[in-house]
């Protein structure tokens, strides 16, 4: 990377600002995954039954799986409109290093689908009778976990952009990679609920987010170049 830092930062912030503006003009893109999250979370009690013990026990798992699926849902469109209207071409021929722009897209994805999930999760958690202390940890794990998911998901979205079977394929690519996040996220919350120590899980989620942050923008950039050929 020989690009000067200000140009990279300007490009990245430019992407974030532009896409936030777009999201503002089309709020449905943000709201749909949220509704999806709430609905999937509502499906479980309906399927399992209203027994309070069972709901309390399965709450963390259900919320985490629902969050994971909601993140996947919004990933498919991450690069699609850029690909279709030719602005991806323009981004690829810009002097800003592509990983910086890819990171901007990932951040933007997290801001519009990860963060809202974190914010709305307490409301859903209440319906699962989750105590306030556990809910706090749920939010922290979701916060750390969705960062990794957005970054990892960007790679998948970049690999499948422009392919016809995009959506199903994207899930197939990303879900196995997302397993560690799911395992640590959901288990940590369950452990808190059972009154056990949680530091290990949180450290892992944090470390994993940092690790993914270090390679995902480059992988996404490479994938974008390849997919756009």
């Amino acid at each position: 990377m020989t690009g000067d830092a200000p140009a990279m930062l300007a490009g990245m912030l430019g992407v974030i600002r532009r896409d936030l503006l777009l999201a503002w003009k089309r709020p449905g893109d943000i709201l749909n995954p949220l509704f999806f999250f709430v609905m999937v979370a509502a499906l479980f009690p309906l399927a399992v039954g209203p027994s309070p013990e069972q709901l309390e026990f399965s709450g963390p798992a259900v919320l985490w799986v629902a969050a994971l699926l909601a993140m996947l849902l919004s990933l498919n469109s991450l690069f699609l409109s850029d690909f279709e209207d030719g602005s991806l071409d323009q981004m690829l021929v810009s002097p800003v290093p592509l990983p910086a722009l890819a990171l901007g897209k990932s951040i933007m994805h997290w801001l519009t689908s990860g963060l809202p999930l974190v914010l709305i999760s307490p409301v859903v958690a209440i319906t699962f009778r989750m105590p306030a202390s556990v809910t706090g940890f749920l939010m922290i794990t979701l916060l750390l976990g969705t960062i990794s998911l957005s970054l990892l998901g960007s790679i998948g979205a970049a690999l499948t952009v422009g392919l016809h079977r995009g959506t199903a394929l994207l899930s197939l690519l990303i879900l196995p990679l997302a397993m560690p996040v799911l395992i640590f996220g959901a288990r940590t919350v369950s452990l808190v609920a059972a009154g056990d120590g949680v530091a290990g899980g949180l450290y892992f989620l944090g470390a994993y987010a940092v690790l993914v942050l270090s390679f995902a923008p480059f992988a996404t950039a490479a994938a974008l170049r390849i997919s756009n050929e």
Partner: protein, 204 residues
Amino acid sequence: MTTKLSANDLTLFRGERCLFRHLSFALNQGELLLLEGRNGTGKTSLMRAIAGLISFEAGEIFWGDVPVLSDRQAFHGALVWMAHRVGFKADLTLVENLRFEANLRSQSGADFDEVLHRLDIDRLKRLPIRSLSAGQQRRVALARMLLSGAPLWLMDEPFTNLDREGRELVVKLTSEHLDMGGMCIMAAHQDVEIGSNAQKIVLQ
């Protein structure tokens, strides 16, 4: 006059099909390169490949003495590309789109309003790109070129969707750009009269 852009022995495939073999050219400051050929002969592919979006099967492009692939940023900093798809966000306004462009590439410092006025799109400033006609959108793409400080212009069918006045404007802007030492690669399937020393590549 130094050779800025040179291509050596290029071969390009699209999938199974070979578009051309052993293509070479050199472009000096102030020169225009016209790519001609019927539809489907690979004008757009060649342009995308020059821009670095597609990789050549063989051959290399140099910007100055440096292979483009080894310093992509330097090369991309020097080019601006008017593609077939304008590459603007339909839901954002003209100004919002061009402001995003300013984050992506260095600007020439030309006065924003003056450029819009010259292209006759200054009254469309606050409108979303979606509500502009195809011709007006091409004009916004021209504004992107004028606002960027890039010496190398890549124009893919710049006359499409433009009225006579617009076409004349493209010719005028391009010749001004060439006079100032700029370079231009233009794909067109109609005859273009710009400057005196245009090179031609005819693709079959």
